[in-house]
Symmetry: C2
């Protein structure tokens, strides 16, 4: 197989695009897909400051790196969850990556907010993954808002988006289907959320990291019991195998046809929210879930 | 495992209903599911005449049989496609079934309308399965309309419905998603279409036939190259295996949430149609597809 652009030996085959590329042209393709996602979904412009959530996994490292390459005003943010034996080496790894590659890095320690995840796990009688996600999203948004970023970007790739869309479609979850997409506009204290890798598969992101010499953190969180969307991802991979392009078509047609239908049915946006009486950030109740968790950890709220 | 109702030994396990039944109670369950579908989707009443399309397969035989058992005014209709070596034995089999079980049977021969399928296959440069389906739907509807039936019923089961819904959801086909369901109201010369087996799986229909001593026609059409939804059915079976009830929830939530959203987006119903200049039945063009096919077979139209 030859590279479609330059005729050199292709190293990455992309059946869903009916093509294959050599490493150099693949990197061009990758950047072109990111540029297309940013433009088509009006994510941000060259004059806007963008904060990227960096976990240390391949998607977030690829994202901060490619946005930097493309000349965007990008800064990285890492959330230190305070899990002994796990959070320290990840943080050191991310700090090393950003130092080496020249990215500004901000680190927020949830422990400094009374929310070290092991303490939360002990205090809260709910699955820790959903609570941890809530805390991370809260702090990611709060930091972006307080430091004047125009947008906050996450490394969600096409496979992430499609498996999540698939799970929500199986349930016909109207709130999700009317509101989700690669760009969620800002509103009040919610900073605009964007997913610039939404047109790229997990394989393509891994290939980008490989050709750019980006090593990434592989170890799973000690608290995670295995990824929840694994069986959907496998199933969607089977569909893609039989009909290359299915995943992208499912996602794109959803954005074109499905989302507007649900949005028109009045299920879009953030819903009815008020300012949390404690932190001031949007909340569905008087006190937001993060502040409630902090109270539980401190022993000043219901457990 | 014991029958949930009577405590006898269960012979049919139904994980999606968290239950199992002995043969007698399973037949009650089956009829109750049919009754529920008819009631909930306002399919037809006891005073209305219902025409059932009978191909000879298990679903259509189960349908005509169960509706008869339940006391509905049901008559059967079989379409003889004129395929030598295939259509004759199927027709004889259906005639024998209806005679034995006491069902009124109407037979329409497409050859009498100039549309023997082998001739159509030779004349029309399109996949024969879609053309054959069009001819069958045309004649099924035409016969029901001309003979004053209130509704026409097909044996589509939950697996058929879910795999078709799934395929159309993967494409986010708004016209399908806004208009499809177990009952499609009549309009002009379109007779109401209903699917009373929509709450029952293929396995449940097969079990009903088995316990009722209904043998059915097994041979595939000589022109079919294999069912198109097979891979989706397998995939949905895998999902159902992991989470029993997924298929039913996907279908029911679609009807509750998905379909109204697309219907409100203005994509429902039969669309813009006119009367075919030749047969008078609804058509998207001046001459309907069936009449165009007849012209091609007769050599009086473009091929």
């Amino acid at each position: 197989m030859k590279c479609r652009r330059c005729g050199e030996v292709a190293q990455v085959a992309l059946p869903s695009h009916h093509t294959g590329f050599c490493p150099t042209c693949f990197l061009d393709f990758f950047r072109a897909q990111v540029a297309r996602a940013i433009r088509r979904h009006r994510m941000f412009g060259p004059d806007e400051r963008v904060l990227v959530a960096v976990s240390g996994g391949k998607d977030s490292l690829a994202l901060v790196h490619v946005l930097g390459e493309m000349g965007y005003q990008v800064e990285a943010m890492h959330i230190d969850l305070g899990i002994t034996g796990s959070s320290e080496p990840i943080r050191a790894f991310v700090e090393d990556f950003c130092r080496t590659r020249g990215h500004v890095l901000h680190v927020v320690e949830t422990a400094a907010d009374g929310l070290a995840i092991p303490d939360v796990k002990r205090a809260v009688r709910r699955p820790i993954c959903s609570m941890c996600g809530k805390i991370k999203r809260h702090w990611f948004n709060r930091f972006a808002f307080e430091h004047g970023f125009a947008a906050m970007a996450t490394g969600h790739n096409l496979d992430d988006e499609v498996s999540r869309l698939f799970a929500n479609t199986l349930r016909w979850d109207a709130a999700y289907l009317g509101g989700q997409g690669p760009t969620l506009p800002g509103e009040g204290k919610f900073v605009r959320k964007v997913k610039p890798l939404c047109r790229l598969t997990e394989f393509e992101t891994a290939a980008y990291c490989f050709f750019q010499g980006i090593t990434h953190w592989h170890e799973a969180c000690p608290y995670s019991g295995g990824a929840s969307f694994t069986s959907h991802k496998r199933l969607l991979a089977d569909l893609e195998q039989v009909s290359p392009g299915t995943k992208m078509a499912f996602y794109e047609n959803f954005l074109h046809t499905g989302r507007p239908a649900f949005a028109a049915a009045g299920k879009a946006g953030y819903g009815e929210l008020q300012a949390c009486a404690e932190c001031g950030y949007p909340s569905s109740g008087e006190i937001c879930g993060v502040c409630r968790a902090r109270r539980m950890v401190a022993g000043t709220g219901p457990t």
